[in-house]
């Protein structure tokens, strides 16, 4: 399938990746958070991954380190995708920002920050994007309750925030 391309990418990435495999047609590369910048530079220039598709995180509360930060890249020339994963602990959830390499990183990192609390070094604008000013907490973490609403406008008489508890 796309295996020859994946093999060439794996050899170009070399020791920057701690582990790599092919899963459901995507090359999955695991790295240490500090190796991100070097890896992305190689991916972008040598391997021609010119589009950053997605930045997100996965929360594994029982595990140390707690979060998996996941990036997806696409190459418009080779037409394949690469998934890059890095593990960050809850005590220091910091990774480098990719805003100087890819413009699409700006909004994606803002969303990942407000949903999981991952901080992106180098992204000056981490204001809430999908959430609002004054929202406390990181909703997509597993310990945030689904019904944990924080209304901006006080409810009218007769409506109590505790009404939703039984839903």
């Amino acid at each position: 399938m796309a295996t020859p391309i994946f093999e060439s990418i794996q050899s170009q990435l070399g020791s920057l990746a701690t582990a790599s495999s092919v899963s459901h047609g995507t090359l999955v590369v695991e790295i240490a958070p500090a190796a991100l910048s070097g890896l992305v530079q190689t991916l972008k220039s040598a391997c021609k991954f010119d589009m950053l598709l997605d930045v997100t995180a996965i929360d594994w509360p029982g595990r140390q380190p707690r979060f998996d930060v996941v990036w997806h890249f696409y190459s418009t020339t080779h037409r394949v995708r690469v998934r890059v994963k890095a593990r960050v602990p809850e005590s220091d959830p910091v990774v480098d920002s990719l805003t100087q390499h890819y413009g699409s990183a700006a909004f994606q990192e803002r969303e990942c920050h407000e949903m999981y609390g991952i901080r992106f070094n180098g992204n000056a604008d981490l204001r809430p994007l999908l959430l609002y000013e004054g929202f406390v907490g990181y909703p997509l973490r597993k310990d945030y309750p689904k019904l944990g609403e924080q209304p901006l406008v006080p409810y009218r008489e007769g409506f109590d925030i505790a009404d939703r508890a039984g839903v």
């Binding site: 689904k146 406008v153 009218r156």
Partner: protein, 173 residues
């Protein structure tokens, strides 16, 4: 909806004659008829219900037959606030601000289940029904409601407007 207005007793008190009561009733009927057929909606559009709102405004369903064709995108110039789609907690201050900026008489229509009760979004982000922040006159269920349901809702609102008391000159008339 209008602020609390005084109820008029059956046996006219305060020196009001039966002729005055007859005038008031006829005035209410006339104003109700005029207001129900000249609604100026403010489409507060957020989500998927917008698709059905577009359908109900155009052929073959057409709100123009009810006089409610011309949307006014300024709250100062409209009298029917149609809240179309999910209102989230982030959007709630905007909704309240627009509602406060509208002048009396004004009516609110909750279009779709998300505006009525939050729909199936029961989580931290969605407001579980706009009646938590503003008073609502008619609720239209559906996800999204068929245009016929919307028209039924508009007609029920028109009945409500026709039966209402319309205070135009003084607090009694």
């Amino acid at each position: 909806m209008s602020a609390a207005h005084p109820t008029i007793p059956i046996s006219p008190a305060g020196g009001k004659s039966a002729a005055f009561e007859y005038l008031t009733t006829k005035k209410d009927e006339l104003c109700g008829w005029a207001r129900k057929f000249s609604l100026f909606p403010y489409p507060f559009v957020t989500a998927c219900c917008a698709m059905e709102f577009m359908s109900v405004s155009s052929t073959p369903y057409d709100t123009d037959r009810f006089g409610a064709a011309l949307p006014r995108f300024s709250p100062r110039q409209s009298d029917l606030l149609m809240v179309v789609g999910t209102v989230t907690h982030k959007q709630a201050p905007i909704l309240l601000k627009v509602y406060e900026q509208m002048c009396e008489p004004k009516w609110v229509m909750a279009f779709g289940v998300c505006a009525t009760s939050g729909g199936f979004y029961q989580n931290y982000a969605a407001l579980a029904g706009i009646d938590r922040v503003i008073p609502v006159d008619v609720y239209i269920p559906g996800c999204p409601p068929r245009p016929e349901t919307v028209i039924d809702g508009i007609m029920q609102l028109q009945d409500k407007i026709a039966r209402q008391k319309h205070i135009i000159l003084t607090k009694d008339f």
